[in-house]
């Protein structure tokens, strides 16, 4: 039997440990707060509505792309073609802009749906490793859009005014960007799907123990294909927002978001092996990366130092996360 005092101290510590283990989001929130404060110290103007606005504006496309990775990673997959899907959707949306905003956006979203379906078929039916399938798809898309940019998809600068407003505009006294509204809607949608729908629970189950869930009578291939289609559509949404923000589409439009989209989900505590995680963590992971970007911009350091710091932070966060929760991130 333990002495009462040590039990009390032990229980406080163990309760704290349980809290950290079960609510890793709290730690991430703390890290985010620290980063925001550090940025505020360097650039006082940052701690204003305007600063929040610009950070969220930066974060919105990344957050949506990271949402796609979260959904796939939960089911034990990954999509390295998601940024090429985004670029492709941006091209199609720009190309179809003369048809009106609705048609342009719908066709843009269709790109994600189709490519996602192909990715999903490759992974689920033909059992190709997701890393390889989406990597190959990324190469195929890059080739296609390189060839088509000058032919059937030309007109990369004629982005529809509505799409431009969606990507870069704001309302309510120019304080709330439309893209953040889109992101919020997407976030509510993903969280609801993951927590409240049977399909969302299946994603976790497939990622956790595919064999058990198959023996339980679930058609795993259907879950996987639909997951890739949803991820593709999310990629398209991000691409359309980016097209609106830049006003001109090029092949490098979304490239820089690929590794951060995986990193944001990983920092947020979603396991790359599937079955563990959620979108709340990914949102905070996205915000951490965005604030970090602002911080590095304000520090006025070059691209080189930025990359080193960026990589180090991802490594430190993932390491401490694994250490604190006692499970791999």
């Amino acid at each position: 039997m333990d002495k009462p005092a040590s039990t009390a101290a032990g229980s406080v510590r163990s309760r704290l440990h349980t809290l950290i283990t079960e609510q890793p989001v709290l730690i991430l929130g703390g890290v985010l707060l620290l980063l925001i404060l550090a940025t505020g110290v360097i650039e006082p103007h940052y701690l204003s509505l305007n600063g929040v606005r610009s950070t969220l504006l930066q974060a919105a496309p990344l957050g949506i792309l990271a949402g796609a990775q979260t959904i796939l990673m939960l089911a034990g997959g990954i999509d390295l073609s998601v940024t090429m899907i985004a670029t492709g959707s941006a091209y199609v949306t720009a190309n179809q802009s003369p048809q009106g905003a609705v048609i342009a956006i719908v066709l843009g979203l269709l790109v994600g749906l189709i490519v996602g379906a192909i990715n999903g078929t490759g992974v689920a039916v033909f059992r190709v490793n997701p890393l390889i399938m989406t990597l190959a798809m990324s190469g195929i898309l890059l080739g296609l859009f390189t060839a088509w940019a000058q032919t059937i998809l030309q007109g990369s600068t004629q982005v529809h005014a509505f799409v431009k407003i969606l990507g870069a505009g704001s309302f309510l006294n120019n304080q709330v960007p439309f893209s953040v509204v889109v992101w919020t809607l997407v976030a509510i949608g993903i969280s609801w799907i993951l927590k409240r729908t049977g399909w969302g629970r299946l994603l976790f189950a497939v990622g956790d123990n595919e064999i058990a869930i198959r023996l339980a009578g679930v058609k795993v291939w259907q879950v996987r294909i639909t997951a890739y289609m949803v991820a593709g559509v999310l990629g398209s949404i991000a691409g359309i927002l980016l097209a609106g923000r830049t006003g001109a589409v090029d092949l490098q439009l979304a490239n820089a978001f690929l590794l951060p989209s995986v990193a944001a989900a990983v920092i947020g505590g979603t396991s790359i092996f599937g079955g563990v995680g959620g979108y709340t963590g990914t949102i905070i992971g996205t915000l951490i990366l965005s604030v970090l970007n602002s911080l590095l911009t304000f520090l006025n350091v070059g691209q080189d130092i930025q990359q080193v710091v960026y990589g180090s932070i991802i490594l430190i966060l993932a390491w401490s996360y694994a250490g604190l929760t006692g499970k791999s991130a």
Partner: protein, 346 residues
């Protein structure tokens, strides 16, 4: 007696064929592509062999390094960044130096980057963070360092050093003896290490079943760290080959990212399962060459070079789709054959 040995021999042959079917297939594919390329262009000879083997060097090195890491149950997304780091360091320090100094720098880079990546392997082992996450992070760190060392493309190396990898002091033309031997010697070294040494076999063991290997007394930390060290060393070699081929350094992040993705593609095409524990270097070398060879083949066919990306992607996805089912079917066939041999003559 003779019947028994011949039957034994037949069984061994069938078993080996079943095990190495993929490698055999990938070599056949390479030979077919070479023959096809030869029929496409008016004269196929020294120049073409030199240029293909020379241009494949960086990818082949990187793929060998990736293969060893994947065999040991990991994956390294930072190999491309290590390549540009080596490339940048070499371009910065080899410029205007004598051959002795240049060779010293080259050797130091191979050892140094091997050590650096060994450190990464150690972090993965100690932290319990998945390989893919740690190396994703380090890919930023290494490419940032490369950019810091060489802010813009430039620098240079000694002509003799370029001859070492390309067979010509100017990097143009030359003899295929040098690039081919530079490709095969390191490949053979890594191959024999992985198949004939205790350390190499322990890499296969931990990649195939970590828990069982630990219980069997395999030093899993040593095997893991060693696999990453070899990956780092091969990435450095790839960076050195790159400067030998191009004559300058190029620190762009996208170059590294592309190289990493290609290395993974080559590894998978070469028959190394991403799950770890299977595959070997002799399959990866032709796979790397094939990926590079598509370029000249398609341009000889008059196809827009932009479409190389598409065809590469379709080929990788297609080979994997057929391969996953094909190898299963092939292994079943081999099993049945072996059964027949055992029981018919028995």
């Amino acid at each position: 007696m003779t019947v028994a040995t011949s039957r034994q021999g037949l069984k061994i042959w069938i078993r080996e064929l079943g095990r190495n079917g993929w490698i055999l297939g990938i070599w056949l594919l390479l030979i077919m592509l070479v023959v096809w390329y030869g029929s496409l262009i008016p004269s196929f000879g020294n120049f073409q062999i030199t240029s293909i083997s020379k241009n494949s060097l960086p990818l082949v090195y990187l793929a060998i390094g990736q293969a060893i890491i994947v065999i040991a149950g990991g994956i390294d997304l930072s190999l491309g960044s290590l390549l540009i780091l080596a490339n940048a360091l070499a371009a910065r320090h080899m410029d205007e130096q004598g051959l002795g100094m240049v060779l010293g720098i080259g050797l130091a880079l191979i050892l140094g980057l091997g050590f650096l990546n060994a450190l990464v392997g150690w972090i993965i082992h100690v932290s319990g963070v998945p390989d893919i996450v740690v190396t994703l992070a380090t890919s930023y760190i290494w490419s940032g360092l490369a950019l810091w060392i060489l802010p813009s493309p430039g620098g240079g190396t000694a002509p003799e050093f370029r001859w070492l990898f390309t067979g010509s002091p100017s990097g143009i033309g030359g003899t295929y003896v040098m690039p081919l031997s530079m490709m095969l010697i390191p490949a053979a070294m890594v191959f024999f290490m992985s198949r004939r040494s205790h350390l190499g076999l322990s890499m296969y063991a931990i990649g195939s079943d970590r828990a069982t290997s630990r219980l069997a007394g395999v030093n899993i930390r040593k095997a893991k760290i060693a696999s990453y060290a070899i990956g780092g060393g091969m990435a450095a070699l790839a960076g050195l080959a790159t400067i030998a081929i191009t004559g300058t350094g190029d620190p762009r992040f996208s170059v590294g990212a592309m190289a990493t993705l290609n290395s993974i593609a080559a590894v998978v095409l070469g028959g190394v399962a991403l799950a770890g524990g299977s595959g070997s270097v002799p399959g990866v070398v032709p796979a790397g060459v094939i990926l590079i060879m598509l370029n000249p083949i398609l341009s000889a066919m008059g196809i827009n070079p932009n479409n190389v990306q598409i065809i590469q992607g379709v080929m990788i996805a297609g080979v994997m789709m057929i391969g996953t089912h094909g190898t299963e079917a092939g292994q079943n066939l081999m099993k049945r054959l072996r059964f027949k041999v055992t029981h018919h003559y028995g």
